[in-house]
Amino acid sequence: MTSRAKFIANVTSSLGRTEVITPSSDDSTAAFDDAATARANAGRVMADTAARSVELTDTMAEAASTIGWKVHRVANPEDAADIVANICVQKGATSVLRSAHDILDEINVDAAVTSTGANLRVTEHSGDNNETKVNESKSAAFAADIGITGVDYAIAETGTVVLHPRSGLSRLVSLAPPTHIAVLRPGEILDSLDDLFAMERSDHMSGNLAGSMNLISGPSKTADIEGTTVTGIHGPLEVHLIILETD
């Protein structure tokens, strides 16, 4: 008997049964919602997100600010770019890393960064997954002063930015540099964790679940020394949210 079979057989017998039975639906878990239901739920989320985007933006700004994001609300891409440039100057940044989110092109972030004298690198997959590339990518992230990303979603309930690392969006760009700037549009803001996981489930049921996901809610922090909260331990010490409200 493999250790898996033996292990599970033990569990079955601990539960007082002789064989594994497939659970039937009860009201507890969402596991029994079929693909159509999952899709419908996701559709509802998207509709709700669009319909309430003004209200959700206000909620997001407030929730994010409460938990330590420095929130900047701007009405045009130029102002967004200015904020990025100002942060680069403030931090004395020499090396900046960014993801390949569309919104960053929209605000012309490259020009904003390089205008301050910092150099800029985009996290993108070169098509080559060898060890050298991996190490290079890692080193660049650890050396960068600032990481800039767009968002895949944001969550108003909790002031959260959601990222699905993939080609063009590394895991480290929002983690290793001591400052992280996230740029988003109102249309990307979901109401709640329920909404996020409805979207994720729909992706899963259609075979498209992202390889990984990061929910980022404020700067890195710890209270392990005498219960005193200190901002910035292993992740960024300073996090900025730029909300581009061009409507």
Partner: protein, 479 residues
């Protein structure tokens, strides 16, 4: 970790005279406990969420065999490997063998109580592999050679000075103690270089999602994210019960876990990982391994009275609420899990006979039950374990009650089975105790109540019972 549950009373006594630790334990109440209350108060449907969380866990545990199979299938579908470990030794061996096979030099560890059960860090170090705890609290206690003091704040008992002595190479006794920020920055710097060179990570798992083969990590520091990103091999270790069926269940579970643990609406980071890095990613581990650990949990599962304890999501809310924990501290519990949850699982996992003091050390106040995000009825299980240590019904080997104690309760029962003897016995006790009393109070009472009078005055039994007084008042009685 080797159980030292029989040291409970001695360790408890040490804590109760340690002003500095007692002060730290106060923070657990004023910080975490109050934080949870506030967060719960600000959450409209908090009680519904608790019910929902309980329902999800009840369902999962009732079908744990099915969901373990589904989880393993999906992890493998994602390209990961799954190892089912019957005990800590098997789990440890898997990780060590893997480390050797992959020529690992440096292992970074993210917080995992299960890895404490396995004493994994030390095992790696003994094999010549660098193993570094990256959660600040775990890092501190690794440096001091201690075990965790609290489920989510492992170094809560350490003073800033003690932390400086461990973290600050330049600190000398008598110097002004660096503040928490300075010390944290020192740790950040030290650990950052470790992150850069780590080739394997071992993380815990807050929730494993059966339908997708995902694991979710809840952290505030960022070490969980580092651990699932920088090394080429990622090993996640979990207790077999840490499953939820659906990815959508995470919204409920994350809400109740995080608000109950620290009072935050959400932690700085929640990380979901579906196996190793995908082909379109430039960083991330090449390999993902999930180690699923039994280590005695089958005993809890098979034990209908104790099974509910497997619903635990390891938030620490019961510790924060417990007046006993606040006085005896985490180390008194003698194993990985302190506080009320420790008092019920440790005896079953490591042996009730040696751990009999754990369920006894409770006033049954029920604060833990109130605090638990998934409504685990801890007092009920404390009473169950007391039943076993008192009368040993399930296994004679569990009985630890002395002949004297059993006699006392037998005498008590005899005394309560008739009104006359109840009255006579009471009046006789008064006769016996009266010479020791002053103004109706005893400063020193004989056994079995001598423990009381070591710190409190004890009331003298009344000269007449209520029955006789009411009869005197000519109330109508029935007999």
């Amino acid at each position: 970790m080797k159980p030292l549950t029989s040291d409970f009373r001695a360790k408890a006594a040490e804590t109760m005279v340690d002003e500095q630790v007692l002060q730290s334990l106060e923070h657990v109440y004023t910080g975490f406990f109050k934080g949870r209350l506030e967060a719960a108060g600000n959450t409209d449907n908090w009680e519904d969420l608790r019910e929902k969380g309980k329902a999800i866990k009840d369902h999962t545990i009732a079908h744990l065999d099915y969901y373990l199979g589904q989880l393993a299938d999906n992890v493998e579908k994602n390209g990961g490997s799954v190892f089912f470990a019957a005990d800590a030794a098997e789990a440890r061996k898997y990780v060590l063998d893997l480390a050797h096979a992959r020529d690992i030099k440096t292992v970074i560890k993210s917080k995992s109580m299960v890895s404490e059960e396995m004493a994994l860090a030390q095992a790696l170090i003994d094999e010549g592999i660098e193993a570094v705890e990256t959660d600040l609290g775990e890092y501190i206690i690794q440096l001091s050679g201690e075990t965790p003091y609290h489920l989510i704040a492992p170094a809560v008992h350490k003073s800033r000075k003690e932390v400086a002595e461990l973290l600050d190479d330049s600190y000398v006794d008598g110097n002004p103690v660096p503040d928490a920020t300075e010390l944290t920055m020192m740790a950040r710097e030290k650990l950052r270089s470790v992150f850069e060179r780590a080739d394997m990570s071992v993380t815990g798992v807050n929730f494993a999602v059966a339908e997708s083969g995902s694991i979710a990590l809840v952290t505030n520091e960022g070490n969980g994210r580092m651990s699932t990103t920088v090394p080429r091999v990622h090993v996640a270790v979990m207790g077999m019960e840490k499953i939820v069926p659906s990815i959508q269940d995470l919204s409920t579970m994350l809400r109740i876990l995080i608000r109950s643990a620290t009072g935050q609406r959400i932690s700085s980071y929640v990380t979901l990982v579906n196996g190793a890095r995908k082909s379109d990613e430039e960083e991330g581990p090449e390999e993902f391994h999930l180690v699923i650990l039994d280590n005695g949990r089958q005993k809890l599962l098979a034990d209908e009275q104790m099974r509910e304890s497997l619903n635990c999501i390891r938030c620490g809310a019961c510790l924060n609420a417990c007046p006993v924990y606040r006085k005896v501290g985490g180390h008194a519990y003698g194993w990985v899990y302190p506080g009320p949850i420790g008092a019920i699982v440790t005896p079953v996992l490591t042996g009730l006979k040696d751990a009999s003091n754990l369920p006894a050390a409770s006033s049954l106040c029920g604060a833990c039950h109130d605090a638990c995000p998934v409504k685990i009825n801890i007092p009920r299980m404390l009473l169950e374990l007391r039943y076993r240590t008192a009368e040993g019904k399930t296994d004679k080997q569990e009985r630890t009650s002395s002949m004297r104690e059993r006699t006392v309760w037998k005498a008590w029962r005899i005394g309560m089975m008739g009104r006359k003897r109840f009255d006579v016995g009471s009046r006789l006790s008064r006769l016996f105790l009266r010479p020791l009393a002053e103004n109706g109070w005893l400063k020193k009472a004989p056994p079995p109540i001598s423990g009381w009078t070591s710190t409190r005055d004890f009331p003298l039994i009344s000269s007449s019972s209520l029955r006789s007084r009411l009869n005197k008042r000519s109330k109508k009685t029935k007999s």
